[in-house]
C-alpha cells in the first residue's frame, strides 16, 4: 500500500503543473476561441520572473570589512546585498531566502501585463483566421519569447532554491502507520500541490461566484448575445487572457525549485499540456484539471520499476497512448462539450 501512496504523491506535483497550464489554455480557448501555442512560453516566463526577482534581491555591493583580513593581509571586501542595507541583516536574509514565494507578487502583475499586451497586440488580429493560422503565429511567438529569454539568461538551467524552511522532506510513512521512511516526500512538492489546488479553486470560484465571472461564462456560451446586451465582452475576454497568462506564470514561478528553469522548459510542458487539454475535452475547465491530474498520476505509476519491467518504455509513451485511446473512443475527450472545435 505504501508504494501506491508514494506514486500517487509523485504524480500530484507533475499533475498540478499540467493542470495549471491546461487550465490556462482552456480558459483562452473557451473565451477567445484561440489555440495558444505560446502558453508554454508564458509558463517559462513565469519561472524566469522568479529567477529575475531572486537576482534582483541578491544584488550586492562591496564593503570593506576592517575587522577581517584576507590571506594577503589586506582588509577583506565583503559582498553585502542591498537588501541588507534596506531591511537590516536578518530581515534581508529572510527576504532573499524567500525569493521564490515573493516572486508570486512580482509575477502576477508582470504576467497579466504580458498577457494583455499579447492579446491586444497580436492575438486580437487572429480571431477570424483559421485555427491553423492561430497555432502557427503563436508557435512563432513562442520561439521568439524563448530565444529572448535564452539571450538574456543563457541556455543553462538556473538553480533557484526554495526557502530553506521547505528544503527537507516529509515522512508520510510514519504518520500513516507504515514503516518510517517508506514514503518520503519533499515539502516543496506538497506546497506546490496545495498552491495549485488554491489557484484552481480561486479560478473556479471567480468564474462561478462573481458577476464578472458570470458575464464571462455567458460570453463563453454565446458571445454574440452577450455583446448585444450592451456588455463589452471583448474587454472582459482580454482580462481573462491576462488571467490565464498569470495562472501559467504562477505555475512556472512555483515550479522553479522542483526543476531548475531553462529556456525550453515551456515547450516541453506545452506539448504535454495540449495532450492534457485534448484528453480533458477542448473548452472544458473541469476536464482540463481532471485530465491534468489523471495523466500526471498515470505517468508516475507507469515509471515504477515493476511496470517498466513488464512493458519496457511505458513511462515514456503512456500519456500519448492514453491520449490516442481516449480520442478514438471519446472524440470530445473526457468532458468535452458538443460543437466545440468540430469543424
Amino acid at each position: 500500500m505504501d508504494w501506491f501512496i508514494l506514486q500517487l504523491l509523485n504524480g500530484l506535483d507533475k499533475g498540478s503543473a499540467y493542470a495549471l497550464i491546461a487550465l490556462g489554455l482552456t480558459l483562452i480557448f473557451g473565451t477567445l476561441g484561440v489555440v495558444n501555442f505560446a502558453h508554454g512560453a508564458l509558463f517559462m516566463i513565469g519561472a524566469f520572473c522568479a529567477v529575475t526577482l531572486s537576482r534582483l534581491l541578491s544584488l550586492s555591493h562591496q564593503v570593506v570589512d576592517e575587522t577581517r583580513t584576507d590571506f594577503l593581509g589586506n582588509p577583506l571586501k565583503v559582498d553585502v546585498p542591498y537588501a541588507y542595507d534596506i531591511f537590516g541583516e536578518t530581515m534581508g536574509a529572510a527576504i532573499i531566502d524567500w525569493a521564490v514565494p515573493l516572486s508570486i507578487l512580482f509575477a502576477i502583475p508582470v504576467m497579466i501585463l504580458i498577457g494583455v499586451v499579447m492579446e491586444r497586440g497580436l492575438i486580437k488580429h487572429f480571431y477570424k483566421r483559421p485555427h491553423a493560422d492561430q497555432i502557427l503565429v503563436t508557435f512563432g511567438l513562442a520561439i521568439v519569447l524563448q530565444e529572448v529569454i535564452k539571450y538574456y539568461y543563457g541556455a543553462n538551467p538556473i538553480p533557484t532554491p526554495a526557502p530553506s524552511a521547505f528544503t527537507g522532506s516529509f515522512d508520510f510513512g510514519a504518520i500513516l502507520g507504515f514503516e518510517p521512511g517508506s514514503i518520503i516526500y519533499p515539502y516543496w512538492r506538497i506546497i506546490y500541490f496545495g498552491f495549485a489546488a488554491v489557484i484552481i479553486g480561486a479560478v473556479f470560484a471567480f468564474l462561478q461566484f462573481t458577476t464578472f465571472g458570470m458575464v464571462v461564462r455567458a460570453g463563453m456560451a454565446d458571445r454574440e448575445t452577450v455583446g448585444l446586451l450592451g456588455i463589452n465582452i471583448d474587454k472582459r475576454f482580454t482580462i481573462m487572457f491576462g488571467l490565464a497568462a498569470a495562472v501559467a506564470g504562477l505555475a512556472g514561478v512555483m515550479y522553479t525549485p522542483i526543476n531548475s528553469p531553462n529556456y525550453h522548459m515551456g515547450m516541453d510542458f506545452l506539448v504535454l499540456s495540449f495532450v492534457v487539454v485534448v484528453v480533458g475535452g477542448m473548452g472544458s475547465l473541469p476536464g482540463a484539471v481532471l485530465a491534468g491530474f489523471l495523466l500526471g498520476i498515470l505517468e508516475s505509476f507507469a515509471s515504477m520499476r515493476e511496470v517498466i519491467d513488464i512493458i519496457p518504455g511505458i513511462n515514456q509513451v503512456i500519456i500519448y497512448l492514453v491520449a490516442i485511446i481516449i480520442l478514438l473512443t471519446r472524440p470530445r475527450g473526457l468532458m468535452g462539450r458538443k460543437g466545440v472545435m468540430e469543424d
Binding site: V271, F274, P312, G313
Partner: protein, 420 residues
Amino acid sequence: MFGLQKQDAKLLLIVIGLTMLAPFILNPFPESSGWAQFNAGYPDLMQRFVIFGIFAIGFNILFGLTGYLSFGHAAFLGIGSYAAMWMFKLFGMNVLPALGLSVVMSGLFAVLIGYVSLRRSGIYFSILTLAFAMMSYALAYSVLATDMDGPDKQGLLQKGLTGGETGLQLTLSDPRILGQQATDDGNLPVPSFFGLEMRSATELSVGDWVFTFSVGYYFSAVVMLIAFYLSIRIFRSPFGMMLRAIKSNQQRLNYTGLNPKPYTLAAFVISGMYAGLAGGLMASMDPLAGPERMFWTASGEVVLMTILGGAGTLIGPVLGAGAIKYMENILSKINSDILHTWFAFLPDGLEDFVVAIIYPFIGKGWHLTLGLIFMAVVIFLPGGIVEGGRRIGSMFKGRAKKTDAASGGKTVAPGQDPAE
C-alpha cells in the same frame, strides 16, 4: 512536355536549371573576399537544401492541399533514416535499395498512423500526429535501443533496432551480404550509387572562385527533381482537385456523396513517403540515424519551411526549406567580430551601438530572427515567399491594385497555377 501544362513545364525547367547550376549560383563570392562566408555552395549545405526540399514538398501535399496540419511528420523522416541504415547494414552500401526500403517502411507507418489520426480533424488531428511522433521518438530513444540479441553482446542487435541516444551507426562487423564488410584498407564502406560514392566530389577553380561538384548533391538533386515533378502531377490531377475540395469544404463534399477519407489517407501516405525518402537520403549522405530526427522540433521545422515558402504552392516549400537551411548555416556563423568589421565605417560609439542592436539576432540567436520572420509571414503574408514575390512582381507591372484584390481570396480557380 512530360504531360504538364506549359506554365508548369516552364517552372519545372527553371527548377531543373537552378538545381543543376546550384554549385555556381550559390557561390557568388570569391574565396578571398570577406563575403565568402555567405557562400552556400558547399556540398553539405546544398544536400540539405534539396533533402529538406523533398521533406517540405511532401508535407505540402498534405497541408497545402488538404489543410490537415500534421505536427508529427518528423516520425516518417526518422523511420526513413533507420530503414536506410538497416539496408546499409544488412545488404550493402548501394543507396537505391536503401531508399526503396525507406519509402516502403515510412509508407507502411503512414498508413497505420494516418488511418488512426485521420479519424479526427483540426487540432485533434494535429495532437494525434504529435502524439504518435513523440511516441516513436520515445521508443526509438529507449525501448528499441535495448539489447535484443542475447548474452554475447556482439551481434547485430547489440544496441537494439535504433541504437538509442547515440543513434544507429555502421560497424565493420555488419553482414552486408551483397557488398563488402569493409573497404580494402579496413575502413567502413561509403554509401554509393552503383559505384559512384556519395562522398566524392570534384573541385573546379576559376580565378578566385572554387566550385565543388559533389556526387551526393547531384544524386539528391535528381531525386528532388523527380519528387518535384511528381508533386506537380499530383497538384494538377483530379486527385489533387479532390484534396483541395476537402480543404475548402469537407461537409459539402460529404453531401455530394463522396467519402473524403480515402483521399486524405492517400495524401497522408504520399507525404509520409516523401518524408521517408528525405530521411533515407539523409542517411545516405551521412550514414547515421538518431532519434532526434523524430523529435517534435523537427516536425515544427518542416511546418515553418512550408509556411515560410508558401503553403499550397508548388515551389514555395522548396524555397522555404532553402531559406531556413541557409539561415541556419550562414546566419549562425556571423559573430560580433564580423559585425564590427562590417560597420567599421561608422563612428566608434555608433558602431558599438549598431552592433549591440544586431547582435542578438545573429550567431546563436538566429532562431530569434527565424521566429520573427515566421510571425511576420503568418501575420502579413499568409502566402509566404511565393505570394511576396508575386506582389513585388505585380508592383513592377503597375497592376498592384488588381492583384491585391485577386489574392485576397486564397482559393484558386481550377487549372490556374497558384505558384505562378
